[in-house]
Symmetry: C2
Subunit: 355 residues, 2 copies
């Protein structure tokens, strides 16, 4: 029932090849041919079969995107950027969710890279380790998003987690906090992201001559709001409260704010809270949340640049691109009496450049 290219050719009284030339905008086509063919296309409502075209061309104009969960705001926002950027390059995106499970990540990655349906893959790994990635022999280029599993030979786009975490912690120290807690994943999960941020956190404390108190590192099993609330509950049980909490993502921080509220602990008066990712919600929470804001548009742009170049056959050495970030200061942190240079005690919205 669907019109095929041949039907168009028959109706226009020309050869299939000429129809193809018109459709693909081939240079050598006479105006007469063009109008004749276009008329037939319009009359039949012809749409090219992209499967057939992809099979023939060997390329589909589609990229795969693998993220843990699309309903997690950070991934929703990043995906949005990627889809928008892809559109400007006439690429479409096929999205799949890995649930962050190693098995499923591997399965989907193999499926996507092997089935001919996508020209390249953007992959935000979570449970997959470096060795897993080395073992993989993808038939299409793969670019890693976020923290790359170690020892991989794949292109990578991310931010400098150690530096960012160090900067957050230094900011908290400089603004007078002395008992700075962190909220991270359990060590056994060996999540590179948590490890790197913890490293930056420790480095800042040490270089400021502050003791690293293991009790102040709350361990949460996942990265959702509820986990942040649970982690905060742990910290609230300590004999002495921390005066700041650096949560390794915004959802944890938002959950922490919730828990603090139910316990009547004031933020930032009694305790400062910092997140990571700068999801939209941070600007409207109560209090609004100080956080590390990676340039998501730049992540998307660079990732697409990289994968596009590889699709076009680039064989230059592996790239590891570090994207700019900013420490965005909002209401949830406040300068303690000791230092006053960072300004007022009310809802001032300042942005500090991350150099």
């Amino acid at each position: 029932v669907a019109a095929r290219l041949r039907d168009v050719a028959d109706l226009a009284g020309v050869s299939p090849g000429s129809v193809s030339n018109v459709i693909t905008g081939h240079p050598n086509v006479s105006p007469a041919m063009r109008t004749k063919v276009q008329a037939a296309i319009d009359e039949l409502g012809y749409k090219p079969n992209l499967l057939a075209r992809g099979l023939r061309r060997g390329r589909t104009g589609t990229l795969g995107l693998l993220v843990p969960e699309i309903n997690v705001p950070y991934f929703g926002e990043l995906t949005h950027q990627i889809v928008e950027q892809a559109r400007t390059r006439d690429l479409t995106v096929r999205i799949d969710e890995t649930s962050g499970e190693r098995r499923r990540e591997r399965y989907l990655l193999e499926l996507m890279t092997g089935s001919g349906t996508v020209d390249g893959v953007l992959f935000s790994p979570f449970g997959l380790t470096g060795p897993d990635l080395v073992r993989l022999k993808p038939k299409v280029p793969v670019v890693l998003l976020g923290e790359r599993a170690t020892s991989s030979r794949l292109d990578h786009v991310g931010i400098h987690n150690v530096a960012a975490a160090r900067e957050v912690t230094k900011y908290l120290i400089d603004s007078g906090h002395t008992r700075i807690a962190a909220m991270a994943e359990p060590e056994r999960m060996r999540a590179p992201t948590s490890r790197l941020r913890l490293k930056g956190y420790r480095a800042a404390l040490i270089s400021a001559g502050v003791e690293v108190d293991p009790q102040l590192i709350a361990r949460v099993s996942r990265y959702q709001r509820q986990d942040g609330a649970d982690g905060m509950a742990q910290l609230l049980n300590l004999p002495t409260l921390p005066d700041a909490v650096f949560c390794f993502n915004d959802l944890l921080a938002l959950g922490a704010l919730y828990e603090l509220r139910t316990h009547g602990v004031r933020v930032p008066d009694d305790i400062s809270v910092v997140g990571f990712d700068d999801i939209e919600e941070c600007r409207f929470s109560d209090p609004s949340l100080t956080t590390v804001a990676p340039d998501k548009a730049a992540i998307a742009r660079n990732a697409l640049d990289l994968v596009s170049a590889r699709v076009r056959g680039s064989t230059e050495p592996r790239r590891d691109i570090r994207i700019a970030y900013r420490l965005t200061v909002r209401e949830s942190t406040m300068a303690k009496p000791r230092t006053a240079d960072l300004g007022g005690d009310d809802g001032m919205l300042a942005e500090i450049n991350a150099n």
Copy 2:
């Protein structure tokens, strides 16, 4: 460089047809053949080319999903449900963003339904009107999500907006509120969703003998948090404050909470706030948000059931499925003195069944 089915056949010393039989799990295959072929598949790391398979079979096992913006929490959560449900049926999902623009919606819908890349489409329309949809002659089944544009002949899955809005409004009236505002899209946008919810809102007021005051209907141009803040600012300029605001989605309500906070208006003491959609964020906001909770998993399930049936060739009459919803009462609304039957003035978390 990629192994093809024929390579597997050659290596195993059998015919391509037999390899195909093994891959597709055809019943009549001898165990010997199966092991022999499987060994060759493993050795070559063979993966079937899904483009070729789709072209040959005429079906791809892929569904298209068209939503306005994936970074909007409601769509992120709904998409998540759809992807998960699809997985249990061995379907994959190709997602595209329409930005809610009519032109783009039409373009993507035509592209998706005409290109042979998907077996069916789930479409959450925003700007497209009924006539647009009638004009369309899709080659694959389309199921509408959310509010269907009128006079369409397509299957539809949604909730009963009029009833839900009426119930929210009635709940506010019954709990003692007398000046109940609404926050909706401008009339000129003719968004069916806003129209229907407004209808329910008005119906409830009228049947309770409360005057419908046009001043109490704030009009916002979009559906994001900032728009909710802007809409609330309008309402705060009224000579007399409303004592409740029914926002037509959660982001608006969350923006309204933000604006109220900056003006020192207490929620729910001074004013009650209600949202719509029950996005995850509602449970952790300050105060947590009373909202209408549609059963998103059921929406996903029913939409997939419908589209799958059509893909399998079902020609039964158009279905219009109404999904269950609940009014979920949280901290942002409170019974006013006049009535006490709905409970306390603190953060009780109650759920009231929606009929």
